[in-house]
Symmetry: C2
């Protein structure tokens, strides 16, 4: 059962034992912090106002007005969403949750909403951490939950591609592909609770560190229902015919149409996999080593540099400078030559291999043993959102933000962001921690990902976080980073997105939206308007 207020599945929340361990650690780290556990309110008792709209008879069977359903769809799963949910404050709640079963239902729903000028929020797994699915405006709204459209419709084993409905959740994609020996191999941290359509609409970043990082590169063609008609691109491995149609819809975050299907590029499931952990005594040397590996043309599956705080908190490793989790995998050949060269580069910069693990992999990203720092880190990675929820309940600010920048700009960005974060934490929380890791590395720059931990004040957690978030976003923006590498823009990132986006492109995008969504009903407040 999905949690209405927090991350993921209720039954996967931290066990009592895990909670106890976490709270003990917390007590040591934040002496004096009030550790009261604030229970989530009963969603049925929130006193939601009745829906302000009724669906036409023809669409009634697709629509739910159940209060718990509506409460569960009111927000994404960012820290600030969870913090607000826990206080029982639901300022805006969708009036109806519509669940189309086939594409024509989506067409009919958009027709109705465009005709009646009712805003529509496309909704996949609801895992947005940027306010992407929250109706942050007055007036009625229909949330269109795509998860009933969840089939892999066709598999082309020769070209290694599949036609997949947009509402499918991550694990189901992999389950449906497994008999063919193929995998989409796209594992964002939200994997279990996010959908293909959500990944496409938000330019999701997968677990893999290099080469095919964003869902964009895995996309062969898209089918999108817009109020102005259905757009379907041709299945092509590459094309030079005008600006890419798919690239307009990738990242459109539900503002231009609702993605219903996509042909996605697949890969054979990996057979060989080697992961090593490499410790550095010096952070700048670790960064140079990581950059050199990223520029060597070796394309590691994982190349995740953790700073000492991140390594300690989430991988249980004590390092002076940084811990590099480096992995290679292949369905075709042993990867020793690749790994050996990458390790050689790391050694040239003072890196020392502290663990090595080879295995036959299921590529699910979810079956690690916990025998080494790299394994610890990956297990922690998938438990992090549940841990975050346990912390929020105890008044702890625990949130992440991410960016990307060029290598030459990284030191300045990192210093500015870290200083802004520390100053904001000190001002707002007294004490706390800032951690950093690279989630993805490109030849021309890293994608740094930051964790923030601080003791908050119950009842003001969201506004406290907003203040920290504004400070770090300003620092990112001022030092040339992107306001988001893979969390999307939503409503939370709008002020910084507006600064980052070229004005002429904004004008073009606004015009494109007017052409596709003349009534302006699609996800108002996101990206535009």
């Amino acid at each position: 059962m999905r949690s209405w207020w927090g991350w993921g599945a209720v039954e996967e929340a931290l066990s009592e034992q895990e909670t106890h361990a976490l709270v003990s650690r917390l007590a040591a780290l934040m002496p004096g912090h009030d550790l009261t556990d604030h229970q989530p309110p009963d969603p049925a008792a929130l006193g939601l106002a009745a829906p302000r709209i009724n669906p036409p008879t023809s669409l009634a069977a697709l629509c739910s007005a159940d209060p718990v359903d509506r409460a569960g769809h009111a927000r994404g799963k960012a820290f600030r969403d969870v913090a607000r949910n826990l206080t029982g404050r639901l300022d805006h709640v969708p009036d109806l949750i519509a669940r189309p079963r086939r594409e024509q239902d989506v067409v009919d729903l958009l027709d109705w909403c465009a005709r009646e000028q009712i805003p529509v929020i496309p909704y996949g797994g609801g895992s947005s951490v940027v306010g992407g699915v929250e109706p942050r405006f007055d007036g009625p709204v229909v949330t269109v939950d795509l998860t009933a459209m969840s089939a892999v419709l066709e598999i082309d084993e020769v070209s290694r591609a599949a036609r997949i409905q947009a509402g499918v959740l991550g694990p189901s994609v992999e389950d449906q592909l497994r008999p063919s020996g193929l995998t989409l191999r796209h594992f964002p941290q939200s994997f279990g609770f996010s959908t293909l359509g959500g990944w496409l609409a938000t330019r999701s970043g997968g677990h893999y560190a290099t080469l095919y990082t964003h869902i964009d590169e895995l996309t062969e063609s898209l089918r999108v229902v817009t109020p102005a008609g259905v757009s379907e691109s041709r299945r092509l491995p590459g094309s030079g015919a005008g600006p890419s149609p798919d690239r307009l819809f990738l990242g459109s975050e539900g503002t231009l149409g609702i993605i219903t299907e996509a042909w996605m590029r697949l890969q054979h499931r990996p057979r060989w996999q080697v992961t090593v952990s490499i410790a550095f005594e010096d952070w700048p040397a670790a960064v140079v080593a990581t950059r050199t590996i990223a520029q060597a043309g070796l394309y590691p599956a994982n190349c995740r540099l953790l700073d000492p705080a991140e390594a300690f908190l989430n991988a249980g490793a004590s390092v002076g400078g940084g811990l590099l989790v480096l992995a290679f995998e292949s369905a075709d050949h042993p990867v020793d030559a690749w790994l050996n060269r990458a390790v050689e580069i790391a050694s040239d910069h003072g890196g020392v291999v502290t663990s090595r693990r080879e295995r036959e992999t299921e590529a699910s990203g979810r079956k690690d043993d916990a025998a080494d720092p790299a394994g610890n880190w990956r297990s922690a990675f998938l438990r992090m959102p549940y841990q975050r929820d346990a912390l929020v309940r105890r008044g702890v600010i625990a949130e992440t933000f991410e960016t990307a920048c060029t290598w030459d700009g990284f030191d300045a960005l990192h210093t500015a962001v870290t200083e802004a974060a520390r100053a904001a934490i000190e001002r707002i929380c007294g004490t706390g921690a800032v951690t950093c890791r690279f989630t993805h590395v490109y030849p021309d720059g890293p994608a740094p990902y930051y964790g923030i931990y601080g003791g908050g004040r119950w009842g003001s957690l969201d506004t406290q976080w907003d203040e920290i978030k504004a400070a770090v976003s300003d620092a990112i923006s001022a030092t040339g980073g992107t306001i988001t590498h893979h969390h999307a823009v939503g409503r939370d990132h709008r002020p910084w997105y507006d600064r980052q986006r070229p004005d002429a492109f904004a004008a073009a995008l606004r015009a494109a939206k007017s052409a596709l969504d003349p009534a302006g009903v699609l996800n108002p407040g996101v990206l535009l308007g």
Copy 2:
């Protein structure tokens, strides 16, 4: 000196000896064909009408009305362009050639043209083979030649990127980068006579067969002058902030603005390079071998499958099924492990290595010796356009076209295209040949490239070719290919592009153009309008 009527530099045209050898081969291949050499007309004697417009005084110094200059800018360099030039028929000629020296000149030129509603054709090296730079409409027109803006302005050696002006020709990019040890490593066949801005505007495909094939992937940020203002994107290695601004301008073919600068991703110049030629007795097996290599995660620099006719005509090799030119290169490490595995895959499908060459490379793509089929093929590759011109002068139809499709659709596409081409050649030329090679291979499909050779009728070469082109384009379109993988759309591909492009995307693109180019002066007839 640039040829006004044909490809490239006058002094690089075929030597008498080369011409003699070509004509002898031709006489053997096309017995009975009239081999009269039709000399190009004197461009000064074409009797061009005087310009219909005068620039304002402030822009006069940037503008040329010289008839030879205007004749040289009237068309691109497709077969049909050269054939028409040779007859002295210049239906439409730009009234003025404007050569901006800095970005403000581009702004001022667009201001003037938008105000006076004068169409503008952005022009880089003029190597379009799709009618992209030809004013195929009545009324005055200004062609904006960017080649005076040709500097590499900044090199960031840490991130491996450079800020480069759009009007720079290929060899000059590499010359300016050479002292840094870095290379853009983008070598389209037009390399010597095309510009960065042209590559970006047309989504050019480089010489390399896998991974970073299109210029799109090498683009870190763009600066574009539109009539509605200058658009500049942030330098980022990756981003998930809304639809990519750069991807709207990449492939816009001068219809949305004039690209003035770009930050481009660079690489270290390769140190290790190994090239092998692999012969197959069976075409289907060669295709499967090539596909398997493309799906193995090895990322060869070259992976070019030539069919027997292509291997014979351009690599001097006799093979029963196909010749695979396979190369690996790296600036970081020896590539034996990669090559050995690829050769092993080829052997599994009956491929036999017939030559192998290792070398320290200059990565210029222009310094091959001619000791083996792969080397022969690369030399021929760069001489092909000159050879084509010598053939046109002798009334031979010699032209290429290209596409991309998924692997599962390749057999049907190849059969349909080849049959359509053969039938058209037979109907129009009597006898001739069709050749095929893969220029690029992706995990989900190849980019097949076709050559057409047939005896034409002097004076009707262009209309004869148009008939063949329509037949093969219909076949590509009907079997799911793209009308262009890397030659762009221009004016020649419009009917098929309009079929391929999703209608909803067309509406969005039209709206975007109206926002950026409200007067509709930018490259009318290309992509839109």
